[in-house]
């Protein structure tokens, strides 16, 4: 499946200010697989991936989590609002 990944803050800037990127993943792929695919396709994001936060359908997601069908995925650094 093609997964669109929203980028925020430093992640977006490091990806050349793109608001989102797209990666292709097999059905049943996990968050770890997603990160691995991004690492290969977007070397500019590699350094960010160590502390990146992943959300799936507006919930925090973690390496072992399997992506559901048609997920809304986002990548961002630790939040700093307020």
């Amino acid at each position: 499946m093609d997964v669109q990944v929203l980028l925020f803050a430093t992640l977006r800037e490091r990806a050349g200010r793109q608001r989102s990127i797209q990666v292709n993943l097999p059905d049943g792929a996990t968050v770890a697989d997603l990160k691995q695919a991004i690492r290969q396709a977007y070397p500019a994001l590699q350094a960010s991936l160590a502390t990146v936060i992943v959300s799936v359908n507006h919930e925090f997601a973690f390496d072992p989590d399997v992506l559901p069908p048609d997920p809304e995925v986002a990548l961002f650094p630790p939040v700093s609002g307020g």
Binding site: L6, F8, A9, T10, E13, T51, I53, S55, H58, E59, F60, F62, D65, A74, F76, P77, P78, V79, S80, G81, G82
Partner: protein, 152 residues
């Protein structure tokens, strides 16, 4: 009795009078309100000046996480009546209020101060909002230090 909950990410000025009125019930006698403002000068850590902050949010998730913060407050302080959690985004200059967390309750000794304090602490952990600081010497993204962990 439905208790009012105001959750919002906005690029408009925060109106404290309106927000307080929106979470005040006839049974409410006390409100604890936290607001954050843009500092133009910061002494803590590396002292520096700030021209403005540029806030951005992942809006639908921010609203979902604000709801989670409100739910956590109500679970911990069942005496809380109204809750408002509002984050302003966009370019914000020194002295401007950027965020508000407010809780009302019948009386002030019901934990309403602790509830508001908890709310702003949690917002800064889990609500996806980021700010870039622009100063006389350039710009820098501020990064938080909270990493969410899987629920056990």
């Amino acid at each position: 009795m439905e208790y009012p909950t105001i959750l919002s990410v906005t690029d408009s000025e925060l109106d404290l009078n309106l927000l307080l009125a929106g979470i005040t019930l006839p049974s409410s006698g006390a409100a604890a309100i936290f607001t954050g403002m843009v500092r133009g000068v910061t002494a803590r850590g590396e002292a520096h000046a700030t021209l403005y902050l540029e806030y951005e949010a992942y809006v639908p998730m921010a609203e979902a996480k604000m709801q989670q913060v409100a739910d956590e407050i109500r679970q911990r302080w069942p005496t809380v009546e109204g809750i408002a959690i509002v984050q302003r985004v966009g370019r914000l200059y020194p002295c401007t209020p950027t965020v508000l967390v407010a809780c009302t309750a019948s009386h002030r000794d019901t934990g309403v101060f602790d509830a508001a304090r908890y709310g702003i602490d949690r917002l800064k952990q889990i609500v996806p909002v980021w700010k870039k600081e622009v100063g006389p010497d350039g710009e820098e993204w501020i990064e938080g230090d909270y990493l969410p962990k899987p629920e056990v």
